[in-house]
């Protein structure tokens, strides 16, 4: 029962495909390569990136501290535009997280074996993105010290309770659930690798921590069996979250009455956009990790390629949503609605709309070309542009809908203050700080899973089929039983 899910494609493996993992690695090589990263000194590039990220994070933290001490007035919001950078950043970061869950859960269920090299970093990205996202709903409050009032905590404040009609309460649940499941899923996936680390790192804190967190993993058949069941269940649990979390976030807008917000297309539109932006962010991150951690053999064209194709697909969905919005507005016969959408494209913030179309619809079309897809530098730039475009998409939805709503007397403009810009930058700083720390202190590639796909693209189908017992199940067990690292294969 347990071993079945891990071999189905073995019989149908196509020989002509390029290998997933280059360099004819053995399972022992994988263990050596990945655990070495944890023991060696960080590269200069890593230090540079880390210090950059950390300084930007510190700047953002200062900005948030100042804003909390003085007031939301330090942002550029006004009586008409009550949300801008804050919620834009929130939706953006939540969206980023989605690709991680997609890769780790849905692609797992769909037996996409290329996910093995990137799923660890994608899941880490999810967690860090949700952390970044979670900051904004708290700091955007006028009185952030009362943020716990959003949770239905039994209390002594009389009959006070949360308003279950409010999408913000739904948000609190959705994000809380999402963070919890993502964290548990990530941690469970880490356990076999932590055990490997425990067994291979010579001494020190790293070994002790790995020993503690691997929860006494012994690599026995029973352990593997339990692990596979839990992992499969968690993948099943996480799968609906890919759809539900951003759906709920989109309800913040869809259930309101503001033209440009009040549209039923938002849930699928937001989910597609989230996956789109998340994939772009995964691309950004794995290309960075590949470069800074020298993982060229583990993150190959076979990994970049499918993600690029997914980007094209989701970009198409997003473009479709942009068009559908206009059609819905036209068809609504609601002049306020029609105005809201035309104002987005042609109003004072039309430049932002143009950036969004350029980055989200036009630029991803370059990925149709396999030449472009194989040029990592270009893919990196495209992924960055998509992130910019998706940030602007949320900015447009939030700000351009608000700034000119029903009564023309209310119409205002919006201009961020340096405090807000620093907060946005700081969230990126936090994200990259966490990611770089993750690269240093945790196995950045899911060793146990990669070992299962080592043969992909190398072996003939006959040879693969000739291997009776899935090596992925047995091989690590073999490793752990023996004291010496290389003896496994």
């Amino acid at each position: 029962m347990a071993e079945r899910p891990f071999v189905p494609s073995a019989a149908g493996a196509v020989v002509s495909r390029p290998p997933l993992i280059r360099g004819n690695k053995t399972a022992g090589d994988v263990t050596r390569d990945i655990t070495r990263l944890l023991e060696s000194r960080p590269t200069a590039l890593w230090w540079f990136a880390f210090l950059m990220a950390f300084s930007i994070f510190a700047l953002g933290a200062l900005a948030v501290g100042y804003q909390t001490a003085v007031g939301i007035g330090t942002w550029g919001l006004n009586r008409t535009v009550g949300w801008a950078f804050d919620i834009t950043n929130f939706v953006f970061w939540i969206g980023i997280g989605h690709a991680g869950t997609l890769i780790s859960a849905i692609l797992f269920l769909l037996r996409q074996r290329w996910r093995t090299s990137v799923n660890r970093s994608a899941e880490a990205m999810t967690i860090f993105a949700v952390i970044c996202a979670g900051i904004f709903p708290v700091i955007h409050m006028g009185r952030p010290w009362l943020a716990y009032w959003l949770f239905p905590i039994p209390n002594t404040r009389g009959p006070l309770w949360v308003n279950y009609k409010s999408p913000l309460v739904w948000d609190a649940f959705a994000i809380g659930t999402y963070f919890t499941i993502s964290l548990v899923f990530w941690y469970v996936g880490l356990m076999p690798d932590l055990a490997t680390v425990r067994d291979h790192v010579r001494s020190g804190l790293c070994k002790r921590l790995a020993a503690f967190f691997s929860l006494g993993w012994n690599g026995s058949y029973r352990t593997w069996h339990r692990y596979e069941v839990v992992y499969l269940l968690l993948a099943g649990l996480a799968t609906p979250l890919v759809v539900s979390v951003h759906t709920i976030v989109s309800w913040d807008f869809a259930t309101s009455v503001i033209p440009g917000w009040h549209t039923t297309i938002f849930p699928p539109y937001f989910v597609a956009g989230a996956i789109f932006s998340g994939l772009a962010m995964v691309l950004t991150l794995v290309i960075i990790a590949r470069k800074t951690m020298h993982l060229e053999d583990y993150i190959t064209q076979r990994h970049i390629e499918p993600m690029c194709k997914l980007v094209i697909a989701t970009s198409g969905i997003v473009a479709m949503a942009y068009l559908t919005e206009f059609f819905t507005a036209l068809y609504s016969a609601n002049p306020y609605e029609q105005f809201a959408f035309l104002n987005r494209a042609f109003g004072p913030m039309g430049w932002a709309y143009a950036i969004m179309i350029l980055c989200n619809v036009l630029v991803p079309q370059l990925l149709w070309s396999s030449k472009v897809r194989s040029n990592l530098a270009v893919v990196f730039v495209i992924s960055l542009l998509i992130n910019v475009g998706m940030w602007f998409e949320r900015f447009i939805i939030i700000v351009t809908s608000l700034h000119r709503d029903y009564l023309p007397s209310n119409w205002t403009s919006y201009r961020p203050t340096p405090i807000e810009v620093a907060t946005l930058a700081g969230s990126f700083g936090l994200f990259f700080t966490l990611f770089l720390l993750f690269c240093r202190f945790l196995p950045v590639i899911a060793m146990a899973e990669v070992k299962g796909v080592l043969r992909e693209g190398h072996a003939t189908p006959v040879e693969s089929a000739a291997v009776p017992v899935p090596e992925r199940v047995e091989e690590p067990a073999l490793v752990y039983r023996q004291a010496d690292a290389g003896a496994g294969s």
Binding site: G142, R143, L150, A172, V257, I258, Y406, P408
Partner: protein, 1018 residues
């Protein structure tokens, strides 16, 4: 017993063997006690005490200050209940009746006195805001001698010595005041000045209507300003007179004007109002017909009208060879016809300071038989008594050094008058200059002695603004400083010091009491007058001479500025007026009803002129006069583009750049990127008075020829409204220029045909039946409001009234620029049309929707619906997500972006204790004055009565001079608000979205032909 002593019992073998002996203690061995003094029990005691102490001190607030109860409770004062005193508003010389709300011994709100025959219950923005000045810490607390604080005795002795010297030497004493409406003070002034051989009382008004009085001197032999009765006028023709905004007595005129335009009366009434004006005035926005005329063309226009009416009246009037003016003869004929048909029921008014023009006005009104009907000179208005000719004489005397003593009260000549720097030099040569100003203003800072008068809420006084109506001022608080009433000071300087109360009663006993018949006893009469705030007495009408036709001269030629130059129009802004209230933060923050700009003055240019000059809004321009005198300084002001203004005109508000506005440098929140509310000169705005012009013995704000030069500088104006039309912007393809039906208006013929004004009215119950039962069922009261757009003039009295009632903070210029003004009630102003724009005003406040979009989205239930239809905001519960404000279709919610503490801590005394002061991070908005609802309900319950219609009056409703706001219980079908809700004119803003607001609006109706009524875009 013995055996027990001898017999040895043992417990163990060791004991028996003597190795160990039993001790009498319970424990064989002593427990090892620690060497320290702390025992276990002691430790527990200490720990318990420490914990308890820490807990108790942690929970305890700062030491309680004991509130000591009154030893003898003053009569009527019950803590927590407000007392109302009738008094009179002293914020300008119009003399409106007020009721002062006192809580715990301090006045916290002014309201119009509904019984008062002049103001009839309204109170303007300035009057509302004058409360704040009572608590101004920059008011003088004691007299000044040579700029140094002194005691009254010292000042009295010094002044008396100087006055004695003048009395013996026979030097000229000049008492310069604004209009003195107080009969008591007038009598005292006469008595005081009577002591000197050469003494004279000179009166001028900073916003002068001296030409009106001068013209009546010429035509009727009486130097009076008539009392205008807009309520009796069916056809109103106004030439540049802003009678609803700032001219003479706006509250009184607004009440009268709206009485003549009552569409709910049976039959409905709607006067016809045509306004010829050069700038966009508040009055012009209400006109049925508004015609742009350059200031220099008004004379010819009046002559044309006079010629037409003289022909109809059969009076000879020589008016040949008139210059052409760009007004069609058909229109002039139509106006003349309408006026002629409404003889005796029409009114022609003019705001010009040109005596010739005012004489023509008198001629027109005489031809129309309006004297004695719509304007009264036999019992005239006493609200403006200034005589610019006498002021000019005084200035000449001063220049020639013939004045020995100048006493200045109630005016600020060094600010109000042009050539002030010259005047300041002259005043230094006058041997004695005394100012009675409440604070160190421009004039007081050059005076030898400053003898501060009380604030009007601290003092006894009286006012007779209409002959026969004598209002009383009564003190509602003990003077906050060592100030002294002007009357008392004068009495002291006549060496018969008396309290002002005695002086006032004496004068009333001698002069007022004999004029009445109702009461036999003076004390009863006095008590009633103090209670009512005014007394009606008899008045002997003045005798006017027959109309002097000789005085009437045609004005044949247009005064046109040379090409490339513009005519300058200086004008008082609603709220700021002549600048006497420049130190009032509420008024500085009040957006102008037309421009919606606060905290600045500016140069208004028409869109065409701005385009011609190549300037945009916010560009700083230099206004230079063409005239020869080089002493006139140039003004540097930001441009404001004003639709509806004449192309040859640049209009600049007066009243800015006041000394004392430096204080506003620290108004508003202070943070990293905050900017001060004052300009480069350290003051709010720029003083425009140097460009006033003396012409024909009158001080005229109009007619200087100026040239505009760009400076290349920029100055962002604090404008609360950035989009000014109900049309969507033209540059949005496909739907640009589409109109939103947020303001609905119709024409008089359409209204008469069907009372809803032609367009289909939205029906009640709502458009579609709901699938679900209503969210809210109201069994008891259901509060609702109706706002009559036809009555609303946009005067903004309600805005300040709301601010005073609800403790709304002042945020300063920078925050207003960032679109974060806090007013709960705002007045939206929309333009329609291209050049000859129509303007509509729409008061916008929380609509208290039944299906309120704000209520569903709050995550913590901080905003919810009451059982009486109120949308409530619970500040304590609010966490500040701002989702409710985003989801409010009317954007009436206001967020506390910062802690808005007052710039002047003393002004916290003006806070209404019934309304929470909001902290930062919480949302707030209109509550329908829930504290007033509660107060009325408690009072009704106390008296065992049902709450009656009219028991609850919101602050905005109360102060509205036009009575445009109705509030009450919709569940009571007989209530005025329920009746108004049934009016066919009623509509709701954004009704089609089914928010079901509790605020209804009554359509605007303009008295014009139907076809021309359809240019409305908004």
């Amino acid at each position: 017993m013995d055996s027990s002593d001898t017999k040895r019992y043992w417990q163990s073998m060791e004991e028996r063997n003597g190795e160990w002996s039993a001790s009498p203690d319970e424990f064989p061995e002593p427990l090892p006690e620690p060497a320290t003094a702390m025992s276990r029990r002691g430790f527990l005691q200490t720990a318990g005490f420490t914990l308890a102490t820490a807990t108790l001190t942690g929970c305890g607030r700062t030491p309680v200050e004991k509130a000591i109860p009154y030893l003898v409770q003053p009569d009527e004062i019950i803590p927590g209940r407000s007392l109302w005193y009738a008094s009179t508003c002293g914020a300008c010389s119009a003399g409106c009746g007020v009721l002062v709300k006192n809580r715990d011994g301090r006045p916290i709100k002014l309201e119009g006195n509904p019984e008062h025959p002049v103001s009839r219950g309204g109170l303007c923005a300035v009057g509302q805001a004058s409360l704040l000045e009572l608590y101004d810490s920059e008011r003088l607390k004691q007299p000044l001698a040579a700029g140094q604080p002194a005691s009254w005795d010292e000042v009295d002795q010094a002044v008396l010595a100087k006055l004695d010297a003048i009395r013996t030497s026979g030097g000229a004493v000049r008492f310069l005041t604004g209009t003195v409406t107080s009969p008591t003070l007038q009598a005292l002034l006469a008595e005081f000045l009577g002591q000197f051989r050469d003494a004279h009382h000179v009166v001028y008004d900073p916003l002068s209507v001296s030409a009106v009085a001068d013209a009546h001197q010429q035509t009727h032999g009486l130097r009076v300003v008539p009392r205008y009765r807009f309520d009796r006028a069916e056809v109103i023709t106004s030439l540049d007179a802003d009678f609803l905004g700032t001219w003479i007595s706006p509250v009184e005129f607004t009440a009268g004007y709206c009485a003549g335009r009552n569409l709910e009366a049976d039959p409905p009434q709607l006067s016809f109002h045509i306004q010829f004006e050069s700038r966009m005035s508040l009055t012009g926005t209400k006109a049925d017909r508004r015609v742009r005329v350059a200031p220099g063309e008004l004379g010819v226009l009046a002559t044309h009208l006079a010629a037409r009416l003289a022909k109809r009246a059969g009076v000879r009037f020589a008016a040949e060879g008139l210059d052409a003016i760009p007004i069609s003869p058909e229109l002039l004929d139509e106006v003349a016809d309408r006026l002629w048909q409404a003889r005796g029921r029409s009114l022609v008014v003019c705001g010009s300071q040109d005596v010739r023009l005012q004489v023509l006005m008198n001629f027109l009104n005489h031809l129309l038989g309006n004297y004695g009907k719509t304007l009264d000179i036999e019992s005239p208005s006493l609200q403006r008594q200034g005589n610019d000719g006498e002021l000019e004489n005084l200035l000449r005397e001063l220049r020639e050094g013939r004045v020995a003593a100048l006493l200045v009260a109630g005016v600020n000549p060094l600010y109000d008058l042009p050539s002030s720097s010259e005047l300041a030099g002259i005043l230094q040569r006058v041997p004695l200059v005394v100012s009675f100003a409440e604070r160190v203003d421009e004039t007081a800072s050059v005076a030898h002695f400053v003898c501060p008068d009380h604030h009007f809420l601290e003092s006894w006084s009286d006012a007779e603004v209409i002959p026969g109506v004598v209002s009383l001022f009564q003190p509602v608080i003990h003077p906050l400083g060592q100030t002294r009433a002007l009357a008392e000071t004068l009495a002291a300087w006549m060496r018969k010091p008396q309290p002002v109360y005695d002086l006032l009663r004496q004068n009333w006993r001698m002069r007022i009491f004999p004029r009445q018949r109702g009461e036999n006893e003076f004390d009863a009469f006095w008590d009633r007058a103090v209670h009512d705030g005014f007394a009606m007495v008899e008045h002997k009408p003045l005798q006017a001479k027959p109309f002097q036709f000789d005085a009437v001269r045609a004005i044949p030629s247009v005064e046109k500025p040379p090409s490339g130059a513009l005519a300058l129009v200086l004008y008082p802004k609603v709220g700021m007026l002549d600048g006497r209230h420049g130190h009032n933060a509420w008024l500085q923050e009040l957006p102008d009803p037309i421009t919606k700009v606060a905290w600045d003055n500016y140069a208004c240019l028409s869109p065409a002129t701005a385009a011609r000059l190549g300037v945009r809004q916010g560009d700083v321009v230099r206004i230079e006069t063409l005239s020869a005198d080089a002493a006139t300084p140039a003004l540097e002001l930001p441009v404001y583009i004003q639709p509806g203004q004449h192309d040859d005109v640049v209009a600049v508000p007066l009243g800015y750049g006041r000394q004392g506005t430096e204080r506003f440098a620290k108004v508003g929140p202070r943070w990293l990127f905050a900017k001060p509310s004052v300009g480069e000169n350290g003051r709010v705005g720029v003083r425009a008075a140097p460009l006033l012009r003396w012409t024909g013995g009158c001080l005229s704000p109009v007619g200087r020829e100026v040239r505009i030069a760009k400076t290349g500088k920029q100055h962002a104006l604090a404008c609360t409204q950035s989009h000014h039309s109900l049309l969507t912007p033209q540059n949005i393809p496909w739907i640009g220029g589409k109109k939103r039906s947020i303001v609905q208006e119709t024409t008089w013929p359409a209204f008469l045909r069907s009372r809803s004004g032609g367009t289909a009215s939205h029906t009640e119950p709502p458009l579609k039946e709901d699938l679900w039962p209503p969210d809210h069922v109201y069994h008891g009261h259901r509060w609702a409001m109706v706002i009559d757009l036809n009555a609303c003039t946009g005067c903004s009295a309600c805005v300040v009234a709301c601010q005073a009632e609800n403790n709304i903070p002042v945020v300063g210029r920078d925050e207003v620029r960032r679109q974060r003004e806090m007013h709960w009630l705002r007045i939206d102003r929309y333009y329609a049309g291209e050049d000859d724009v129509d303007v509509v005003h729409q008061p916008m406040l929380c609509q208290h929707c039944d299906y309120a979009p704000c209520e569903t989205v709050c995550p913590v239930l901080a905003t919810l619906h009451s059982e009486e239809g109120l949308n409530q905001q619970i500040y304590n519960r609010c966490v500040g997500t701002r989702y409710c404000a985003n989801n409010c279709p009317y954007k009436v919610r206001r967020f506390n972006w910062f802690d808005y503490s007052r710039e002047d801590r003393l002004q916290n005394l003006a806070l209404n204790p019934d309304v929470s002061v909001r902290s930062r991070g919480v949302m707030e908005k209109c509550t329908f004055c829930v504290q007033r609802i509660q107060e009325a309900k408690i009072e009704a319950r106390r008296q065992g009565k049902q709450l009656a219609d009219g028991d609850v009056r919101t602050a905005c409703q109360q102060s509205c001079p036009a009575q445009a706001i109705l509030f009450g219980d919709l569940n009571d079908p007989k209530s005025s608000v329920a009746q108004a809700m049934r009016s066919p004119r009623r509509y709701r803003v954004l009704e089609e979205f089914n928010f079901r607001p509790a605020v209804g609006y009554l359509k605007l109706v303009r008295n014009r032909a139907e076809d021309s009524g359809e240019k409305h875009d908004g």
